[in-house]
Symmetry: C2
Subunit: 204 residues, 2 copies
Protein backbone atom coordinates (compact mmCIF):
# COMPACT_ATOMS: atom_id res chain seq x y z
CA UNK A 1 0.00 0.00 0.00
CA UNK A 2 1.12 3.51 -0.69
CA UNK A 3 0.22 4.86 2.71
CA UNK A 4 3.04 3.16 4.47
CA UNK A 5 5.33 4.36 1.68
CA UNK A 6 4.66 7.97 2.54
CA UNK A 7 5.40 7.42 6.17
CA UNK A 8 8.67 5.75 5.23
CA UNK A 9 9.62 8.69 3.05
CA UNK A 10 8.78 11.22 5.73
CA UNK A 11 10.72 9.34 8.33
CA UNK A 12 13.77 9.26 6.13
CA UNK A 13 13.47 12.94 5.29
CA UNK A 14 13.22 13.78 8.95
CA UNK A 15 16.14 11.57 9.91
CA UNK A 16 18.26 13.34 7.36
CA UNK A 17 17.02 16.75 8.40
CA UNK A 18 17.84 15.90 11.98
CA UNK A 19 21.35 14.96 10.96
CA UNK A 20 21.78 18.16 8.97
CA UNK A 21 20.72 20.20 11.97
CA UNK A 22 23.15 18.27 14.12
CA UNK A 23 25.92 19.16 11.70
CA UNK A 24 25.15 22.85 11.98
CA UNK A 25 24.02 23.24 15.57
CA UNK A 26 25.41 20.42 17.60
CA UNK A 27 23.40 18.44 20.09
CA UNK A 28 22.94 21.39 22.43
CA UNK A 29 21.42 23.52 19.69
CA UNK A 30 19.42 20.90 17.88
CA UNK A 31 15.70 21.52 18.37
CA UNK A 32 12.61 19.96 16.90
CA UNK A 33 11.64 23.23 15.26
CA UNK A 34 14.96 23.51 13.50
CA UNK A 35 14.61 19.96 12.27
CA UNK A 36 11.13 20.71 11.02
CA UNK A 37 12.32 23.85 9.27
CA UNK A 38 15.19 21.95 7.72
CA UNK A 39 12.75 19.40 6.37
CA UNK A 40 10.37 22.12 5.24
CA UNK A 41 7.59 20.94 7.52
CA UNK A 42 5.96 21.85 10.79
CA UNK A 43 7.13 20.80 14.20
CA UNK A 44 4.00 18.74 14.67
CA UNK A 45 4.94 16.44 11.86
CA UNK A 46 8.21 15.55 13.51
CA UNK A 47 6.49 14.28 16.62
CA UNK A 48 3.91 12.57 14.46
CA UNK A 49 6.56 10.32 12.97
CA UNK A 50 8.84 10.03 15.97
CA UNK A 51 7.75 9.41 19.51
CA UNK A 52 10.08 12.11 20.84
CA UNK A 53 13.32 13.95 20.31
CA UNK A 54 15.48 11.11 21.56
CA UNK A 55 14.02 8.61 19.16
CA UNK A 56 14.51 11.00 16.27
CA UNK A 57 18.20 11.39 16.93
CA UNK A 58 18.69 7.71 17.52
CA UNK A 59 17.35 7.14 14.03
CA UNK A 60 19.60 9.89 12.73
CA UNK A 61 22.57 8.02 14.10
CA UNK A 62 21.45 4.80 12.46
CA UNK A 63 21.05 6.64 9.19
CA UNK A 64 24.55 8.12 9.31
CA UNK A 65 26.04 4.82 10.23
CA UNK A 66 24.32 3.10 7.35
CA UNK A 67 25.92 5.52 4.92
CA UNK A 68 29.36 5.04 6.42
CA UNK A 69 28.89 1.33 6.40
CA UNK A 70 27.73 1.22 2.82
CA UNK A 71 30.98 2.77 1.66
CA UNK A 72 33.02 0.09 3.34
CA UNK A 73 30.81 -2.77 2.22
CA UNK A 74 30.98 -1.69 -1.40
CA UNK A 75 34.75 -1.69 -1.37
CA UNK A 76 34.90 -4.88 0.61
CA UNK A 77 32.93 -6.68 -2.06
CA UNK A 78 35.61 -5.95 -4.63
CA UNK A 79 38.49 -7.04 -2.41
CA UNK A 80 40.12 -10.42 -2.97
CA UNK A 81 43.22 -10.79 -0.80
CA UNK A 82 43.37 -10.14 2.95
CA UNK A 83 45.46 -7.04 2.31
CA UNK A 84 42.87 -5.77 -0.12
CA UNK A 85 40.16 -6.32 2.44
CA UNK A 86 42.13 -4.34 4.96
CA UNK A 87 42.65 -1.49 2.51
CA UNK A 88 38.98 -1.57 1.64
CA UNK A 89 38.04 -0.92 5.25
CA UNK A 90 40.64 1.78 5.67
CA UNK A 91 39.86 3.63 2.48
CA UNK A 92 36.13 3.22 2.97
CA UNK A 93 36.39 5.04 6.26
CA UNK A 94 37.87 8.07 4.57
CA UNK A 95 35.76 8.35 1.44
CA UNK A 96 36.02 11.76 -0.12
CA UNK A 97 32.35 12.62 0.25
CA UNK A 98 32.23 11.41 3.85
CA UNK A 99 35.45 12.49 5.48
CA UNK A 100 34.21 16.03 5.96
CA UNK A 101 34.07 18.35 8.98
CA UNK A 102 30.29 18.76 9.16
CA UNK A 103 29.68 15.03 9.19
CA UNK A 104 32.34 14.68 11.82
CA UNK A 105 30.78 17.41 13.96
CA UNK A 106 27.42 15.71 13.93
CA UNK A 107 29.02 12.41 14.71
CA UNK A 108 30.90 13.91 17.63
CA UNK A 109 27.72 15.35 19.07
CA UNK A 110 26.05 11.99 18.93
CA UNK A 111 29.04 10.28 20.52
CA UNK A 112 28.95 12.83 23.29
CA UNK A 113 25.42 11.70 24.16
CA UNK A 114 26.18 8.00 24.10
CA UNK A 115 26.88 7.78 27.83
CA UNK A 116 23.40 9.10 28.62
CA UNK A 117 21.35 7.24 26.02
CA UNK A 118 21.23 3.48 26.10
CA UNK A 119 19.93 3.21 22.56
CA UNK A 120 22.75 5.32 21.21
CA UNK A 121 25.20 3.21 23.18
CA UNK A 122 23.76 0.08 21.66
CA UNK A 123 23.99 1.45 18.13
CA UNK A 124 27.53 2.54 18.79
CA UNK A 125 28.37 -0.92 20.02
CA UNK A 126 26.99 -2.52 16.89
CA UNK A 127 28.93 -0.12 14.68
CA UNK A 128 32.14 -0.89 16.47
CA UNK A 129 31.53 -4.61 16.33
CA UNK A 130 31.02 -4.53 12.58
CA UNK A 131 34.04 -2.35 12.07
CA UNK A 132 36.08 -4.78 14.07
CA UNK A 133 34.72 -7.75 12.21
CA UNK A 134 35.46 -6.12 8.86
CA UNK A 135 39.00 -5.47 9.91
CA UNK A 136 39.49 -8.96 11.22
CA UNK A 137 38.31 -10.45 7.95
CA UNK A 138 41.49 -9.02 6.49
CA UNK A 139 43.80 -9.19 9.48
CA UNK A 140 43.28 -12.86 10.22
CA UNK A 141 45.13 -13.71 7.05
CA UNK A 142 48.07 -11.57 8.08
CA UNK A 143 48.66 -12.18 11.75
CA UNK A 144 47.84 -14.51 14.61
CA UNK A 145 44.43 -14.24 16.16
CA UNK A 146 45.68 -12.42 19.23
CA UNK A 147 47.76 -10.01 17.20
CA UNK A 148 44.92 -9.41 14.78
CA UNK A 149 42.64 -8.47 17.68
CA UNK A 150 45.19 -6.07 18.99
CA UNK A 151 45.88 -4.46 15.65
CA UNK A 152 42.17 -4.13 14.97
CA UNK A 153 41.75 -2.16 18.17
CA UNK A 154 44.63 0.07 17.17
CA UNK A 155 43.25 0.66 13.70
CA UNK A 156 39.79 1.59 14.94
CA UNK A 157 41.27 3.94 17.51
CA UNK A 158 43.54 5.53 14.94
CA UNK A 159 40.70 6.02 12.50
CA UNK A 160 38.51 7.54 15.19
CA UNK A 161 41.36 9.78 16.25
CA UNK A 162 41.94 11.03 12.73
CA UNK A 163 38.24 11.80 12.38
CA UNK A 164 38.37 13.68 15.65
CA UNK A 165 41.33 15.71 14.37
CA UNK A 166 39.34 16.61 11.30
CA UNK A 167 36.47 17.75 13.46
CA UNK A 168 38.58 19.78 15.86
CA UNK A 169 40.76 21.43 13.24
CA UNK A 170 39.28 21.16 9.77
CA UNK A 171 42.03 21.13 7.21
CA UNK A 172 44.64 19.78 9.58
CA UNK A 173 44.43 16.32 8.06
CA UNK A 174 43.62 15.37 4.50
CA UNK A 175 41.97 12.24 3.28
CA UNK A 176 45.22 11.03 1.72
CA UNK A 177 47.19 11.77 4.86
CA UNK A 178 44.70 9.88 6.95
CA UNK A 179 44.76 6.83 4.72
CA UNK A 180 48.55 6.83 4.63
CA UNK A 181 48.69 7.11 8.41
CA UNK A 182 46.55 4.06 8.96
CA UNK A 183 48.29 2.03 6.30
CA UNK A 184 51.69 2.81 7.73
CA UNK A 185 50.43 1.90 11.15
CA UNK A 186 49.32 -1.49 9.92
CA UNK A 187 52.50 -2.02 7.95
CA UNK A 188 54.62 -1.10 10.95
CA UNK A 189 52.83 -3.45 13.27
CA UNK A 190 52.76 -6.32 10.82
CA UNK A 191 56.46 -5.91 10.04
CA UNK A 192 57.27 -5.81 13.72
CA UNK A 193 55.56 -8.97 14.78
CA UNK A 194 56.79 -11.04 11.87
CA UNK A 195 60.54 -10.54 11.81
CA UNK A 196 60.91 -14.04 10.38
CA UNK A 197 59.08 -12.99 7.25
CA UNK A 198 61.65 -10.30 6.57
CA UNK A 199 64.52 -12.72 6.96
CA UNK A 200 65.66 -11.98 10.52
CA UNK A 201 66.09 -14.71 13.08
CA UNK A 202 64.16 -15.07 16.31
CA UNK A 203 63.74 -12.15 18.72
CA UNK A 204 61.35 -12.23 21.63
Amino acid sequence: MKLSRISDIRRRELRQAAFAVLEREGIAGATLEKVAAQAGASKGIVLHYFRNKQELFEHAMREANAVLCHAVIARLRRARTPMERLDAVIEGNFEEHLFLPPLCHAWLSLCAEVPRDDKLARIQKVIHARMRSNLLSGLRGLASSVEADDIALGVTALIDGLWLRLGLQPGSVSREQAIRQVKEYVAGRLAMRRPAAVGLASAG
Copy 2:
Protein backbone atom coordinates in the same frame (compact mmCIF):
# COMPACT_ATOMS: atom_id res chain seq x y z
CA MET B 1 44.17 41.89 49.41
CA LYS B 2 42.02 38.98 50.49
CA LEU B 3 38.98 40.02 48.50
CA SER B 4 40.47 38.99 45.21
CA ARG B 5 41.48 35.72 46.82
CA ILE B 6 37.87 34.83 47.48
CA SER B 7 36.89 35.56 43.93
CA ASP B 8 39.71 33.32 42.70
CA ILE B 9 38.54 30.54 44.96
CA ARG B 10 34.94 30.87 43.84
CA ARG B 11 35.91 30.91 40.21
CA ARG B 12 37.91 27.73 40.62
CA GLU B 13 35.10 26.03 42.54
CA LEU B 14 32.64 26.97 39.84
CA ARG B 15 34.93 25.82 37.03
CA GLN B 16 35.26 22.48 38.71
CA ALA B 17 31.56 22.26 39.41
CA ALA B 18 30.87 23.03 35.78
CA PHE B 19 33.15 20.23 34.72
CA ALA B 20 31.55 17.81 37.13
CA VAL B 21 28.13 18.63 35.72
CA LEU B 22 29.48 18.14 32.24
CA GLU B 23 30.67 14.69 33.25
CA ARG B 24 27.22 13.72 34.46
CA GLU B 25 24.91 15.57 32.10
CA GLY B 26 26.76 16.30 28.90
CA ILE B 27 26.68 19.63 27.17
CA ALA B 28 23.00 19.35 26.30
CA GLY B 29 22.02 18.82 29.90
CA ALA B 30 24.44 21.17 31.58
CA THR B 31 22.60 24.12 33.07
CA LEU B 32 23.66 26.99 35.29
CA GLU B 33 21.37 25.82 38.03
CA LYS B 34 22.93 22.38 38.07
CA VAL B 35 26.38 23.94 38.22
CA ALA B 36 25.27 26.14 41.10
CA ALA B 37 23.78 23.16 42.93
CA GLN B 38 26.96 21.16 42.33
CA ALA B 39 28.98 23.98 43.86
CA GLY B 40 26.51 24.38 46.71
CA ALA B 41 25.62 27.91 45.72
CA SER B 42 22.87 29.83 44.01
CA LYS B 43 22.55 30.39 40.29
CA GLY B 44 23.14 34.09 40.74
CA ILE B 45 26.63 33.50 42.03
CA VAL B 46 27.60 31.67 38.87
CA LEU B 47 26.75 34.64 36.69
CA HIS B 48 28.38 36.94 39.20
CA TYR B 49 31.75 35.32 38.55
CA PHE B 50 31.29 34.45 34.88
CA ARG B 51 29.85 36.71 32.26
CA ASN B 52 27.69 33.95 30.84
CA LYS B 53 27.36 30.23 30.32
CA GLN B 54 29.80 30.10 27.43
CA GLU B 55 32.56 31.74 29.39
CA LEU B 56 32.03 29.37 32.28
CA PHE B 57 32.49 26.30 30.13
CA GLU B 58 35.45 27.76 28.34
CA HIS B 59 37.12 28.10 31.70
CA ALA B 60 36.08 24.58 32.57
CA MET B 61 37.90 23.36 29.49
CA ARG B 62 41.03 25.29 30.43
CA GLU B 63 40.86 23.78 33.89
CA ALA B 64 40.60 20.23 32.62
CA ASN B 65 43.38 20.77 30.17
CA ALA B 66 45.64 22.16 32.87
CA VAL B 67 45.20 18.98 34.88
CA LEU B 68 45.92 16.76 31.89
CA CYS B 69 48.91 18.86 31.02
CA HIS B 70 50.30 18.81 34.52
CA ALA B 71 50.50 15.03 34.47
CA VAL B 72 52.58 15.08 31.31
CA ILE B 73 54.83 17.93 32.41
CA ALA B 74 55.63 16.22 35.69
CA ARG B 75 56.75 13.07 33.91
CA LEU B 76 58.55 15.01 31.24
CA ARG B 77 60.69 16.70 33.87
CA ARG B 78 62.07 13.38 34.99
CA ALA B 79 62.81 12.11 31.48
CA ARG B 80 66.39 12.17 30.21
CA THR B 81 66.61 10.37 26.86
CA PRO B 82 64.39 11.05 23.82
CA MET B 83 62.71 7.70 24.32
CA GLU B 84 62.00 8.53 27.94
CA ARG B 85 60.48 11.82 26.88
CA LEU B 86 58.26 9.99 24.45
CA ASP B 87 57.16 7.52 27.09
CA ALA B 88 56.52 10.37 29.48
CA VAL B 89 54.03 11.92 27.10
CA ILE B 90 52.36 8.63 26.33
CA GLU B 91 52.06 7.48 29.94
CA GLY B 92 51.07 10.93 31.11
CA ASN B 93 48.11 10.84 28.77
CA PHE B 94 46.79 7.71 30.40
CA GLU B 95 47.35 8.42 34.08
CA GLU B 96 45.33 6.17 36.28
CA HIS B 97 43.32 8.95 37.90
CA LEU B 98 42.64 10.67 34.59
CA PHE B 99 41.95 7.95 32.07
CA LEU B 100 38.40 7.50 33.29
CA PRO B 101 35.03 7.44 31.52
CA PRO B 102 33.49 10.48 33.23
CA LEU B 103 36.41 12.70 32.39
CA CYS B 104 36.28 11.43 28.85
CA HIS B 105 32.56 12.09 28.60
CA ALA B 106 32.99 15.69 29.65
CA TRP B 107 35.86 16.08 27.28
CA LEU B 108 33.82 14.71 24.42
CA SER B 109 31.01 17.13 25.12
CA LEU B 110 33.40 20.04 25.00
CA CYS B 111 34.98 18.80 21.79
CA ALA B 112 31.54 18.53 20.26
CA GLU B 113 31.04 22.25 20.83
CA VAL B 114 34.40 23.30 19.45
CA PRO B 115 33.06 23.95 15.93
CA ARG B 116 30.58 26.48 17.28
CA ASP B 117 32.69 28.27 19.85
CA ASP B 118 35.76 30.13 18.73
CA LYS B 119 37.23 30.29 22.20
CA LEU B 120 36.93 26.55 22.65
CA ALA B 121 38.52 26.08 19.25
CA ARG B 122 41.39 28.27 20.25
CA ILE B 123 41.95 26.41 23.50
CA GLN B 124 41.78 23.13 21.64
CA LYS B 125 44.37 24.38 19.20
CA VAL B 126 46.74 25.35 21.98
CA ILE B 127 46.32 21.99 23.65
CA HIS B 128 47.09 20.17 20.46
CA ALA B 129 50.09 22.35 19.74
CA ARG B 130 51.60 21.64 23.11
CA MET B 131 50.90 17.95 22.82
CA ARG B 132 52.62 17.95 19.48
CA SER B 133 55.56 19.92 20.78
CA ASN B 134 55.96 17.56 23.74
CA LEU B 135 55.99 14.60 21.40
CA LEU B 136 58.45 16.19 19.04
CA SER B 137 60.83 16.91 21.88
CA GLY B 138 61.29 13.17 22.08
CA LEU B 139 60.75 12.20 18.46
CA ARG B 140 63.29 14.56 17.00
CA GLY B 141 66.02 12.48 18.54
CA LEU B 142 64.65 9.32 16.97
CA ALA B 143 63.64 10.20 13.42
CA SER B 144 64.03 12.80 10.74
CA SER B 145 62.07 15.99 11.09
CA VAL B 146 59.51 14.99 8.49
CA GLU B 147 59.05 11.54 9.93
CA ALA B 148 58.81 12.94 13.43
CA ASP B 149 56.01 15.27 12.35
CA ASP B 150 54.16 12.41 10.78
CA ILE B 151 54.55 10.09 13.73
CA ALA B 152 53.49 12.85 16.11
CA LEU B 153 50.25 13.21 14.19
CA GLY B 154 49.70 9.48 14.38
CA VAL B 155 50.38 9.33 18.08
CA THR B 156 48.01 12.17 18.92
CA ALA B 157 45.30 10.61 16.79
CA LEU B 158 45.85 7.22 18.36
CA ILE B 159 45.72 8.64 21.87
CA ASP B 160 42.54 10.57 21.07
CA GLY B 161 41.04 7.47 19.53
CA LEU B 162 41.77 5.37 22.58
CA TRP B 163 40.18 7.99 24.81
CA LEU B 164 37.15 7.98 22.56
CA ARG B 165 36.92 4.20 22.88
CA LEU B 166 36.99 4.52 26.63
CA GLY B 167 34.19 7.04 26.48
CA LEU B 168 32.03 5.05 24.11
CA GLN B 169 32.50 1.69 25.78
CA PRO B 170 33.86 2.04 29.28
CA GLY B 171 35.91 -1.00 30.16
CA SER B 172 36.73 -1.87 26.57
CA VAL B 173 40.25 -0.55 26.92
CA SER B 174 42.45 -0.49 29.98
CA ARG B 175 45.12 1.97 30.84
CA GLU B 176 47.83 -0.64 30.29
CA GLN B 177 46.35 -1.71 26.97
CA ALA B 178 46.23 1.88 25.80
CA ILE B 179 49.82 2.57 26.74
CA ARG B 180 50.99 -0.61 25.07
CA GLN B 181 49.06 0.25 21.92
CA VAL B 182 50.70 3.62 21.54
CA LYS B 183 54.16 2.31 22.38
CA GLU B 184 53.89 -0.46 19.85
CA TYR B 185 52.67 2.01 17.28
CA VAL B 186 55.75 4.15 17.83
CA ALA B 187 58.06 1.16 17.85
CA GLY B 188 56.55 -0.13 14.64
CA ARG B 189 56.91 3.13 12.83
CA LEU B 190 60.39 3.79 14.08
CA ALA B 191 61.56 0.29 13.17
CA MET B 192 60.05 0.66 9.73
CA ARG B 193 61.64 3.92 8.79
CA ARG B 194 65.08 3.18 10.13
CA PRO B 195 66.13 -0.15 8.74
CA ALA B 196 69.75 1.11 8.71
CA ALA B 197 69.76 1.41 12.47
CA VAL B 198 68.99 -2.28 12.83
CA GLY B 199 71.88 -3.22 10.65
CA LEU B 200 70.27 -3.51 7.23
CA ALA B 201 71.57 -1.55 4.27
CA SER B 202 69.75 1.26 2.50
CA ALA B 203 66.21 0.79 1.19
CA GLY B 204 63.94 3.65 -0.02
